[in-house]
């Protein structure tokens, strides 16, 4: 979403500038030499088309809905394009240390997958929560407790500013050990 914002923000700015410029140019043209109006934007045609429409007309409602959907998209884009950094405790004042959720997931994933009883695992991490899903050939409940301890110790080794909650789910798969 941040990349999309990075691309769309200048384009939206450009769009605003173009609309503003068009309004100025057309108004000045109409004022200075009414014979050559409209210069670029065919606004008299648009005016004629909107002539008979009331607020109840279907096309007015349709246009409003389209504008609303575009506006909602732009609004949501602005709201969700935040950073997802995970903050670590500051070693010294004046220094801020961050890492990515992906890094946390990778570190936890290595530990979990290196465990003997785990057949496969997936890890999703954010600053607030680490979710581990693992598959094993052994009874799930025992492995779950071991894995939870393992993840907790791994996270404890990282000096995170706030310790994320840990959610571990283990399923037993069929197979030969």
């Amino acid at each position: 979403m941040r990349l999309l914002l990075r691309v769309l923000a200048p384009l939206l700015g450009l769009l605003l500038a173009v609309v503003g410029l068009a309004v100025v140019v057309e108004t000045v043209t109409l004022w200075v030499s009414p014979t050559s109006s409209p210069l670029i934007v065919p606004w008299p045609t648009w005016l004629a088309a909107a002539e008979g429409l009331t607020w109840q007309s279907g096309s007015v409602r349709a246009a409003a809905v389209v504008v609303g959907i575009v506006g909602l998209f732009v609004l949501i884009l602005g709201l969700v394009a935040r950073r997802h950094d995970v903050f670590l405790a500051d070693p010294v004042p004046e220094v801020t240390v961050t890492t990515s959720p992906r890094s946390i997931a990778r570190a936890v994933g290595h530990e979990v997958r290196a465990h003997d009883e785990v057949v496969s695992a997936s890890v999703v991490a954010s600053a607030k929560k680490v979710t581990v899903k693992a598959a094993t050939l052994d009874p799930a409940e025992e492995v779950r407790a071991t894995l939870r301890d393992l993840v907790e110790t791994t996270l404890a080794r990282l000096p995170l500013a706030r310790r994320p909650r840990v959610a571990v789910s283990v399923t037993t798969t069929k197979g030969v050990k």
Binding site: L8, A9, P10, L12, G13, L14, L15, L16, A17, V18, V19, G20, L21, V23, V24, V25, T27, L30, W31, L47, A50, L53, T54, W55, Q56, S57, V60, R61, A64, V67, G68, G71, L72, F73, V74, L75, L77, G78, L79, A81, R83, D85, L88, P91, P93, E94, V95, T96, V97, T98, T99, S100, S103, I104, R106, A107, H110, R113, L158, P159
Partner: protein, 201 residues
């Protein structure tokens, strides 16, 4: 965590986000208002009025000069906001040179590239760091350091911190003759490790 080191973590997208959000709000508000008028929330008579309202048309033709000035004003404001927004979000993040002395005759600045090469080289010498990148952000008078370190698997982050503060940042502070240099460090953990151990069952 100081405000300046916190600001150095990444380029801020705050301006873009604010403007995008405001634009979205305006569009949504316009749409909702038009729909509400159309569904007769503000009176069924108003819902039946033309979109190009005769009252407004009448006023505009009666006060042609004022109407034109208003249109030009709106256009200029939109144009300036749009242009400022575009230039602002296309401008690259500055890489400031650091000025060590502003005294006439003794002006001394250090180039951005020179500082960053030195810091990066120092950082890559730390045990457990496989790759380092460094750049300065902020202004020449108030620079801040942004450092991203890639750590090999199994490195203890606390050891890296000790080395970082004791060697790399201490030298940078010494070079700039400042007591504190706001720094944002971004760690990539376990990125260049050996593949997950093979499992033979």
């Amino acid at each position: 965590m100081s405000r300046r080191s916190r600001a150095a973590v990444a380029r801020s997208a705050g301006g873009d986000r604010t403007l995008t959000t405001v634009l979205g709000l305006v569009l949504v508000a316009a749409s909702v208002l038009a729909l509400l008028v159309g569904f007769g929330v503000f009176g069924s008579f108003r819902a039946q009025r033309p979109v190009i309202d005769p009252l407004i048309v009448e006023w505009a033709s009666a006060h042609a000069t004022a109407a034109r000035w208003i249109a030009i004003g709106i256009g200029v404001v939109l144009f300036l906001i749009g242009l400022w927004w575009t230039l602002r979000s296309l401008r690259p993040e500055p890489r400031p040179d650091v000025s060590l002395s502003e005294l006439p005759g003794e002006r001394l600045t250090v180039e951005h590239a020179a500082i960053c090469d030195a810091v990066r080289h120092d950082a890559e010498l730390i045990d457990g760091v496989s790759r380092a990148r460094a750049r300065l952000v902020g202004t020449p008078q108030k620079p801040a350091l942004r450092l991203s370190l890639t750590l090999v698997e199994g490195t203890d982050v606390r050891d890296v911190w000790a080395d970082l503060d004791g060697r790399v940042l201490a030298r940078a502070r010494e070079a700039f003759a400042v007591s504190a240099l706001p720094t944002a460090v971004r760690l990539e953990l376990d990125a260049t490790s050996a593949p997950t151990p093979a499992r033979v069952q």
